[in-house]
Symmetry: C2
Subunit: 345 residues, 2 copies
């Protein structure tokens, strides 16, 4: 089969390799689509650093496809359309003991520590398979992954029906958060992001007000709109100004959930918390391992009933052979208008 | 009457001034004792800066005493022993509209924006009077103020029965937190502080393990004791290392409540939150204004039934005339063995 394998810094090659053989508790999946995640681009640009070091391997963890072979202990019928939850938990660390499989200390993440979806076929544990409801295609299912991050973040936040929300950062997950917040009953949703195309998408996704933080101070603007701050903010950019904008946008007693991935220390003034009794928590990915269906299953159900719409997030579809130029390199441009690029092996 | 009035930087004078006259909704209080707060020392050393600017006035907001005169609308009998809640709320800002009187934007704090307890007599709104239960003396009641800060912090935290706790910072409020956490049913309580005398007091107050952070890393040590971190940490020092120690001491999914007052920005790594889905909130003082009795009333009840013991926190008692040398100057020494100094006007 063909696979786009990562050999090291800015080095991805299209190889012809043997198809993987599923273990007894695994299935073999025909990959219909695999989304390119920002963290894959980062590993391509700055790595090998964040993912595993067993090079070469195919990255790609946003996988929609169909089961074509099942191991003898894998209780998933051949032909099952699915989205794959990439978190393979060890089952024996203290996090797994507490059923916090998504925090597993020995996590083997599909597409980072073992072969992922930038390939025609991928083998994965049967427990990581999330079957699709009627009306959801394996291609669209690939987009369930960033939306599962958004969904999990909402479950970890204090969001209640009717609450006002700020989303700071409008990558695929931030845009997903706008949709998820609306889908689960938020009141007004305000958003802040740097790129014009993504701001337009935020509006299309249901945001009530969208600002460019270089032109309009989101803290001031969102506070005006809400008479003093939103109930819940989500930080989805992974940088200092976004974190301070998110916290500053909340009302007294309001809450911020950090979703972004940060590259190091940031500076905050704790008195912005203390003086207003604000709170902050954090969301890490989504439930995984034996809980593979928790967040992913909810997301694909929301796809099926139309309350979440992955379509607007997909801005291009490319073949494996185009993954370097039209994928990694295109997304390395900070001004790219692309949001979610799907690779179709 | 005599009053120790603040005239500006490091300038406090003992003046003979007219006794205040209570307004219709106020009472006049004979001050039995007034504790010196670290923030008063800061205003003395670095101010005028943090408090009001209507100089000169007597600071002092940790007030125990007895009502000697009541205005015509003040529904508090002469002779009532009390602790005074110093938060005078405006009643009309958006925080007051939400009954968050302790966050009032126009707060007039007794001892900071109006005459306080470093004087023989003080006038205050009747609604700020918290009557004492039997067995609690007006002198001991002065210590209810820092313990109300500790009590409020616990109510704002996620602390549940049996939870393990870390207290980082062992000033009067940190020491109070050790006591309050034990009093309300915490499991093991671990503490970290720089001064030997205060560490000894933490042990005396019920802490199960107390470390000097310059010798023993509290994050490592507390994690060892708890197999991976405490359930709830309290930051009670107001500095960067204490905040990072507090957050780092918590288990995955654990919670930190910030109680310390910070002088500016601090550096944190948001991934210490994200990777473990930890959370942080903040506690500001205690309920006040029309809710004056909420935290203070609970604290003096805990004094009465013996579950909180203010005695060990009181390390000296001084007269008004000694307030500069034996009070502000003594507490300006970062190595002082004093904890709570009571002024007895």
């Amino acid at each position: 089969m063909q696979a786009a394998r990562y050999y090291g810094n800015r080095d991805v090659r299209i190889d012809e390799i043997d198809a993987p053989s599923p273990e007894a508790d695994e299935v073999l999946i025909d990959v219909e689509a695999c989304g390119i995640c920002r963290s894959d681009v980062k590993e391509y640009q700055q790595g090998p650093k964040f993912y595993g070091d067993d090079l070469p391997y195919a990255m790609g963890h946003e996988i929609g496809g169909t089961v074509v072979e099942a191991g003898e202990d894998a209780d998933v019928p051949v032909g099952t359309d699915l989205v794959l939850n990439p978190i393979v938990a060890c089952g024996s660390c203290r996090f797994c003991d507490d059923a916090q499989y998504h925090l597993c200390q020995n996590m083997s993440f599909i597409g980072a520590h073992r072969q992922g979806g930038y390939a025609e076929l991928v083998a994965a544990p049967a427990e990581n398979v999330v079957p699709l409801p009627d009306g959801v295609s394996p291609e669209m299912a690939a987009v369930a992954e960033p939306l599962a991050v958004a969904f999990h973040a909402v479950t970890q936040s204090t969001l209640r029906l009717g609450d006002s929300v700020a989303v700071v950062g409008l990558g695929p997950i931030g845009l997903g958060l706008v949709q998820v917040a609306k889908a689960v009953g938020a009141g007004s949703v305000y958003a802040s992001g740097h790129r014009a195309a993504r701001r337009a998408l935020a509006t299309e996704s249901g945001a009530d007000l969208v600002v460019d933080p270089r032109e309009t101070d989101p803290v001031e603007r969102f506070s005006e709109e809400t008479d003093g701050g939103v109930d819940v903010a989500f930080e989805v950019a992974g940088n200092e100004s976004a974190l301070n904008d998110a916290i500053g946008s909340t009302r007294p007693g309001g809450h911020t959930t950090i979703v972004g991935v940060f590259g190091g220390d940031v500076s905050i003034d704790p008195m912005t918390l203390v003086n207003f009794e604000r709170s902050v928590n954090a969301s890490a990915g989504y439930r995984g391992g034996p809980h593979a269906e928790r967040d992913f299953g909810s997301v694909v159900e929301l796809f099926a009933d139309g309350r979440l719409d992955p379509d607007p997030l997909v801005t291009s579809r490319i073949g494996l052979g185009e993954i370097v130029e039209s994928g990694f390199e295109a997304l390395s441009d900070g001004e790219s208008e692309d949001v979610k690029i799907l690779v179709k092996p």
